[in-house]
Every structure is written in structure tokens, then in C-alpha cells.
Symmetry: D2
Amino acid sequence: MIKVGIIGGAGYTAGELIRILVNHPDAEIVFVQSSSNAGNPVTSVHDDLAGETDLQFTAGMPLKTVDVVFLCMGHGKSVEFMQENNLPENLKVIDLSHDFRLKREGNEFVYGLPELNREAIKAAKYIANPGCFATGIQLTLLPLAAARLLTSDIHVQAITGSTGAGQKPTESTHFSWRSGNVSAYKIFEHQHEGEILQSLKQLQPGFDSDFNFVPIRGNHTRGIFVSAYTKYSGSLEEAKILFRSYYASHPFVVVSEVNPGVKQVVNTNKAVIYLEKHGDKLVIISVTDNLLKGASGQGVQNMNLLFGLDEKTGLNLKPVAF
Amino acid sequence: MIKVGIIGGAGYTAGELIRILVNHPDAEIVFVQSSSNAGNPVTSVHDDLAGETDLQFTAGMPLKTVDVVFLCMGHGKSVEFMQENNLPENLKVIDLSHDFRLKREGNEFVYGLPELNREAIKAAKYIANPGCFATGIQLTLLPLAAARLLTSDIHVQAITGSTGAGQKPTESTHFSWRSGNVSAYKIFEHQHEGEILQSLKQLQPGFDSDFNFVPIRGNHTRGIFVSAYTKYSGSLEEAKILFRSYYASHPFVVVSEVNPGVKQVVNTNKAVIYLEKHGDKLVIISVTDNLLKGASGQGVQNMNLLFGLDEKTGLNLKPVAF
Amino acid sequence: MIKVGIIGGAGYTAGELIRILVNHPDAEIVFVQSSSNAGNPVTSVHDDLAGETDLQFTAGMPLKTVDVVFLCMGHGKSVEFMQENNLPENLKVIDLSHDFRLKREGNEFVYGLPELNREAIKAAKYIANPGCFATGIQLTLLPLAAARLLTSDIHVQAITGSTGAGQKPTESTHFSWRSGNVSAYKIFEHQHEGEILQSLKQLQPGFDSDFNFVPIRGNHTRGIFVSAYTKYSGSLEEAKILFRSYYASHPFVVVSEVNPGVKQVVNTNKAVIYLEKHGDKLVIISVTDNLLKGASGQGVQNMNLLFGLDEKTGLNLKPVAF
Amino acid sequence: MIKVGIIGGAGYTAGELIRILVNHPDAEIVFVQSSSNAGNPVTSVHDDLAGETDLQFTAGMPLKTVDVVFLCMGHGKSVEFMQENNLPENLKVIDLSHDFRLKREGNEFVYGLPELNREAIKAAKYIANPGCFATGIQLTLLPLAAARLLTSDIHVQAITGSTGAGQKPTESTHFSWRSGNVSAYKIFEHQHEGEILQSLKQLQPGFDSDFNFVPIRGNHTRGIFVSAYTKYSGSLEEAKILFRSYYASHPFVVVSEVNPGVKQVVNTNKAVIYLEKHGDKLVIISVTDNLLKGASGQGVQNMNLLFGLDEKTGLNLKPVAF
């Protein structure tokens, strides 16, 4: 049994981790820390878990009692956590914030996108779990980068559900505003661009084309829909072979013949990829659940790899479908 | 031209008043007061009015420059307003809060439900505009009360859109929580019960049956759906005649032969009423827009009556329909 | 391994069965029959299953190859199925239609509500799976009926998601109509009333109070929200003890201290029950997922009981939560 | 009074025309033709009009009794109508289908985008009303084309509400499928591309850059959100001056300093345009209501121009806002 601690347990990503881990056959939650909720039952925040767990939020973080901790705090807090705590030698850390996603001197975290870095993840101690947009977008581009075929500008639009904006009620997550609404934000300036480009350059070192990204707020709760296109000189069939080959060993990525809707992956850790060719351009669609493949599901996928388990353990989740 | 002031101009009901009044042929907005937004354009809060108005929020309330003020502040603030201001002799006041809805000694406000009190409203100086649930529910019961036929327990369930909860983002108006969700609140204890019973007793003085009311939060933005039933010894046809006769002179109430959906009145000041008889019970459905017939639209309807205009002036609103 | 056949495999309830059974540790789907889709992959209809199954729809029904069949056809078709087929001696049948829910001479089906009939189900050969509204409503009333405390009129309103109306596109499931809409239908005349009253009389033979039921179409996809009330002379604490005691051995029913929203059970087989007392009336809320506890989840729960498995096997489903 | 006939009166665009025209001060609906609904009240289909009109659908089309007809039939039917009917000399025709949008020999229809062709519309007899995507997209590009600044590839993504798909229930408008869903369709192949390019070339004759368009199905009912970008060598301020100058005389187009959401124009005939500059690219956002500025509202705007009225007559519509 892998013993798990969760730090910052009241937010959406922590809730999803708990929902997955209460049914994970090889893991056991030892503590769920939350300063603001210490002493209360976990179900006081994550009410859908009523009947599933008797855990209470803790104030403390008994790091010695666990094999791995998930960091689910706000961006910036993970750096503080790593600096302020003397971590047990064998403790693994999976960080869901963006604090350690970008390579820089002294950053010991491996970027936790299994479809890019599976072997490095297996050997890692610390994992920087990718961002949600970053996951959905990279999955549309990795096979092209691996084949060094990204030689032209990339055009990406991606539409996210409201859970991407977190638990705190704000103007742009107010139901009266968001229901039936569509809007763009951080146009060409989204903070996930850095990790995306880093991955593309890892696979295709000389990559220097423009990356144009328009992020959109949709009026659904879960799911990221990505449409990307770039010039591609091969045929559609060649592209399908390229993508199928790249993802053949990656169990959560399905290259589909059918144009997908985002809802077909909601509540799963899957990504569905779909390709079309028009003129000289290859269009690639991906759909993922921003809280699962884009956050907590991928976190558990990484945990499975860190501990030598089958990648899918505990992640055969029933899609919500409707 | 009726000169209008709006006090508490940043909230939903003030926004709706402005949306109606910018196209009202016989009224003109002189000021829109908002402490927290003073100096900013009205469109900085009500962005859909871009291109419709150049008004700026004011800090002050130049009461002498207007014929009528709408009070759109939080509950409790209207009492303060009336106490702290020396109102010009001829100033009319339409209060959208619940502060003056209940009769008590010294309360000079007329309860502003035109379908109950039209003549009194015409002669009034101060109007207490009804609550949104209270409006939708009373419209299902007034004809029965007027005929003194409310002799048995009344059972009401009503489902409200999120705009009924106001502009401040909260847990229960968070899109991620509310989308696709249904929940009850203030079961049998909603604050609108007082004004409903007051009206029923006004029409049927001895009324003392139980009034059972389960309020529900729906996952739409606008509209209140009411289903009510009580024992009724007449036939369905007699009930229809009773309701049609009662509402014959009330232009915003339609007694329909077709079971309505709430959306068919959204963005209008209308109420649609529908009747069925089952066994010894009469079922009455009403649908209204909580922000219009349930708040600001009814406020303008009252203003029209106060100033001798046709009740519908400025209120021929295009339904959103979809 | 329980060998399973599904008949009428293209509809919503069949899809949900497949989604559950592909991960059920002790069951295996042998065939999924669908006349109109024979020869096509199951994922051509249930696209979210891409990557989860290679099954193809069959035209035939090889009944001898399975231990149990689920009947997922339209109402009326199950009667035909039972008449026209010579069933293998040991074949169990779980019927999701309403064809066999009402007791009558020659009806060998056991009514499959485990919280009412668990022991009979264990010993049964044929199961009539309850209706979705019927499940949600009965769970609010069974403890009272078992204690013979239903001595006064019962008032029920229940709001259902669109999946309750099935897969065929109709006017009332058109997105443009239903989004943001609320409407009532079959007021006091819903076809589930029969099975509800049958169960209440099973527990409380002399029951003869009025049962008043207003069904509502909500604008969500999954979930049934029930509010029920009736006179009850005990205290709230006594009621809670009564309900907790009744459901103590039933793992899918949670009696909660917190007023629930329907979404907290979506994509699970759970029911959450909540109680309030006001004056002489007890209010009981229940929330369930109409496709799971209200249909296919309960079907698998019944299958587990039929084959001597733990009731929860394969039904530890991750809630969608948002 | 302009006398109006509507042909194909049961669909969404006809319904919107009626909703506008019942309150238009200078127009009067003489007949609403619908073969399948002849003899029934208009409110039997457009139920939100209950209490607003007593019109009945007609089987016949008494063209001599009207000054203008709106053609609201399916695509292809308007060609038939023009061929099969001997139109009165002075009858104006406004066609909402795509039949006459593209210039070709013998096509006497003027393309009815007032922001492109206002003077030609005023002098026209027959108007081809633009498509909904086409309207929203052209409004992001016309000022650049007029200044002959479209010298590089254009990248467009646009998200439409479900009403764009019309009234007939289909798989992709089924509430259970579409709620919470996002999907692409007709990628790079949407039928509106022709009219868009025709307009761009009208203003900038040598235009021959690539036009890349990804259409998206959103999960709202009304509204089109367009994001477009292309290379632009000027500054953001210069772009704003260009757009403000182009639209200065067009009362329905607002160039905003604030990043808009689509809902702020829902139920209005307005378009809000918003600009950002990033690197060498100009990003242009537009939001419109697909049934109004994208269809029936623009139809009435064209009618106003045809008959010498102020362009906004009857089109001061209350936004739904929420």
C-alpha cells in the first residue's frame, strides 16, 4: 500500500485526488491537510464523498508517515513548502502547481507528462504535474515535434470549463454571468505557454515557430477542448500513422476516427485526439478533463509510475457521458 | 417626461431598471447613484449597456431633480434611507427591498402588486415592490382568495434562477457548483411567506389554512416556476373562468391553455398561468421572470400607474425565447 | 465471472450498464444486442467508451452463453421478449422497463429495490428494476411506511434531468428549448405512482392516504431531486433515528445532516437523504442519479445480489462532483 | 405602416421576426405563412408570444397585400419561391437563406450587410440577408479590408449557440448530448466562407490570403463569439482609430475597450468589437446574437433601410444580460 498525504486539501484538485484514491487498490490516504478546515470532516468540503470516507482534515503534515505527498496549494506555495520543510529521504512529491514546471538550475522536479517523459518519471523523486491547458495542447503536438515536423506557425484555440478557475467564487465564475456565456482571456499571454514550448523544444531542439494561443472560457464545468493547426506536408493517413504510433504505448490517449465532443472524456483520465487535413494544414483536436488528465488524474498516473504500478491502476473511471 | 433617480445602481435590479428605462418613451434617468462606483460609467458595471447610455454613477442623490426614486439597495437600507433623508414633498418612492412590504403602524407604503392593489397604487406616494417568489406565488392564488375559496391547505413549490440570489459571488452561485445542480433552501421558512399571507388575508379575511412552501434553487439564470395546489370543489372550467375573469383587466397576466415552461416569459414582464384539476385538487402553475415581473419590470409597471400612464408603457419587451 | 448479455444496447441505460460492467471485477459482457446497430462497434453509439471496449453490437441474442440478461428495450418490449423466447433454465433476467413492476397473477418478477426487497432479490430469478422517479421517491418514504407512520397525505415534487427522457431527440429535449427552462408534466398522473403505492402498501398494508406528485423537467442532464412531506408526530431526532436505523444495512443510502444538491450523487449509485421538521410536517429530501441508482446502477446492484456478490461490487464509482 | 408578410413562419428566424415586429412602430404583420401549421395560432408554435398576437398561420401567401416579404424557409427554397411566384412590381423581398448571397449573373439580390452595403441596400429591391457566422466574422475584418490591410493569413475561430442549428431536434441539439459539451464541425469547410471572402474582395480587390476558420458548437443557446487574428503592422491605437472610424456611422456596432462576453449582446441587434495587439498580430473579437444581428434583427435593420426609416427603428431591444 502506498501511503499518501495531501497538502492543501480543500481545493478542487485535492477533492479529485481523494475521489480517485478512496477506490485505488494500492494506495491509502493517510492525511489530508488543510489549515482552514483542520478538524472538520473531509466531507464538510467535498460533500459528494459522504459515505465514502471518515477522514478529517489535519492541521499538521506528518510527512514521515507517508510515501508520497501531493501539493495542492496555490501557485507559489509549493516553493515555500520545499524550502521550509526538511523532507524525509524517501518521500516522493507530486506538485500540482506551476512552481517547478520550468527547467532551471537547481530544479530537481521532472515534468510529469507521461506521454513525454515516462521513463524519467519512473526514476524521479519529485514530479511537476503539468497544467491543464498545457496537457491538452501538448497532446496535439508531441508526435509532430518528436518527428521534428513543427516547421511553421502553430495556431491554437482552447476552451476550458469553469473548474479550471478554482474554487473561490469570482465574477467570472458567477453562475449568473457565466451561464450561456463565452469569453476570451489572457489572449496570446497564457502562463502555460512556457511549459508547452519547453516540451516542444525537448523533442525538436531547433523549434522556433510562432505559437499563437487564444484561451476561451466556456460555459461548462469540466473539460478542455483544443483545436490546433499548423502546416504539414504529409497526407492525413501519414499523420494518423504518426500519431497512432506515438501514442501506441500510452494507454490514456485514444486517436479517434470520429470528431469528438469534450464531454466524452469528462470524469475520465483519457485524452481523445482527432485529425483532419485541409489544404496544407493539419488540424488536431484534443479533448481532456481539466481536473483529471489535466490535473489530479495525471497526478495519480504519475504516482503509479513512481511506484512501479501499472499506469492505469485506480484510473478506470466511469465517464459521466451526459 | 418622468424624471427618475436610481439609488443603489450597481446591482441586478438597478441594471434591469436602466435597461428598461433607456427605451421608456415617457421617462428619463437623471441619476444612478452608487457609492462604490461613483464617477465610473454605468457601463463599467452593466456592460451590455455599452452604446446605450453615457450615464455615470453618482455619489450624491439630487432628490429635488427627480419625480421618482427607485431604491435598489440591500434589505434594511431602505428604512435607513427614509429616516435619514428629508424627501421633497412630491417625490414618489418605489422600494425594491422587503423593508416596507408588511403593513404596520406608520408604514405609508402601498404594497405594489398591481394585480391586487392597482387603484391604491395609482393614488399612492410610496410603493413597496413585491418580492419575486411572492409575486409568482400570489398570482397563482389571488383569484381563489378573491372568491374566498381558499379553505384548505396550500402546497407550493417554486424554483428560482440564480439571479434571485444577487450579484455577489457566493458558494451557491458558483458556476462549478450550480451548473447542473438542484437544491432546496429555507424550506417552509422563506421570508416571502409574510407578504403572501398578508395579501391572501386582504382578499379573504378569514384565511387560516396552512401554507406549505418549498423553495428550490434551479440551474438557470432567470425565471421562477411555481406549482401550487389546494382543494377546490368546482370544475376545471369554472376555475378557468374564475382566473380569466380575475385577470381580464390585467394586461401582463395570461391564462394559458398550454402547460408553460419558464423560459417563455424570460426577459418579459409577463406572467403565464396554467390550470389543471386532479381529483379534488386544483393545480396552478405560474411562470415569471424574477428580475422583471418579480422586481424591476413590476417597478416600472408601478411607476406607470403612479404617473397615470398606460400600465404597459415601456414594457413591451422582446422575449428571449431561447 | 458472471457472463452478461445486454438486449437493446443502443439506449442510455444500456450505455450506462456497459460503462459499469467494463470495470466490474466479477462480470464480463458477452454480447450487446441492438437490431439497428448490429455489426457496428459499441463505441459507434457510446463514443465515450473509445479505448475501453472492442465489443460490437450483435443482431442475435445467444442466451445460452450468458448467466444473466439485462433488458433495456422500450416499455412493452420486455413482455414480448419473455413471451417469444424460450429462456434457458438458469438464466437470470433483469428488466429495466416498467413491464413487470406491478404485481399481478403470473408475474414472476421480484420488484428490484434492494432497500425494500433485498432478501427476495437474492432468491429471485427475474427482477423488475424500479423506475427512476419511483426509486428516488420511495427512498424518502420507506422508513415511515415500515413504521406504519404514513397516516396523512403525502406531497411530492421531483425534478428530473433530461436523460430520463431517453435518447430520441424530441421537442422537450431540444437544447434550444430546454436550456434554462423548467416545466411540469404528467401532473398527478405520472406512471411511476403505481409502483410507489404498491411498495408503501407492502410495508404498511392499510395505507390509503392521498399521494400528490408533481413531476418537473429540469435543465440538467443527470439526477433526480425529490422533496416530500407529510404529517409526522415525532421529533426530528426521532425521524433521523428511524431513517438511520432503516438504512443502516443499506450501503448506498446516506442519511445526511447537510441539505444536499443533486449533483453530489451524479455518476454514483448513491442516494443521499436529508430531513427537516417544520410544525407538524416532516420534510424528506432525496437525491439520486436517474441513470444509476434510478436505472443501470441499481440493475448492477441487483445483479450482485442475484449472484451472491457484495452489493457494492463494481459500483464504487467516482462522483463527477462538478 | 409597412405591411409585412412572413413565409416559412414556424422556424426560429420567423419567430424572432414576429417578436420584433409586434412592437415595431412603423410595421405591421399581415400574414405569417406556414404550410404545416396553417390555421393554427402563431402562439401554438411561438408560445412566448401568448398575449402579444392573435395572428394565425396561413396556408396562402397574399403577396399583393404586403410591401415586403421575409423568406424564412430552408436553404434552397428561396430560389424556388422566386421562380414559382409572379411577384408584384413593388414588393420587396428579404431572404434569410443563403440562396442569393453569392454574386452571380442574374442574381438581383443585394448582400444585406448594412455595415458593408448600406447605400446599396437603401436602393435595393431584393436583399440577401447574411449568414450568422458570416456577420460576426465580417465585422472583425471589414475595417482592415477597407484599408486594404489584409495582407497575411487570417485565423478565425467562432463558437455558436444551439439556435444556429435550427428548430428540428437532432443528435447534436439533444440536450443530454449538448449540455456541457463543446465540439468542432465543418472545420475549414463552413459554407459561410464564400460570402465572407466575397465581401473582403469587394473592399480589397486583390485579397488572396488564406482564410482559416474553425467553427465550434458551444453549449449556450444564443450568441456567436468570434476571435480572429492576422498580421498588422500598425499600433493598437491605430487599429482602434481605424475600427472606430469605420463603424462611427453604424449604430449597432460598438468598439469596446473591454474584453466582451457573448452574453452582453444576447437578445439585441448589437455587435461588440474588441481589439488587442500581440507581437505583429492584431486580435479582433466580436460578439453578436446569431438570431438577431446574425439573422432576423439584421433583417429588420435591412427593412428599415429599404423603407427609408431610421436604421434602429423597432430594434432598441432589452438585452437579457443574464
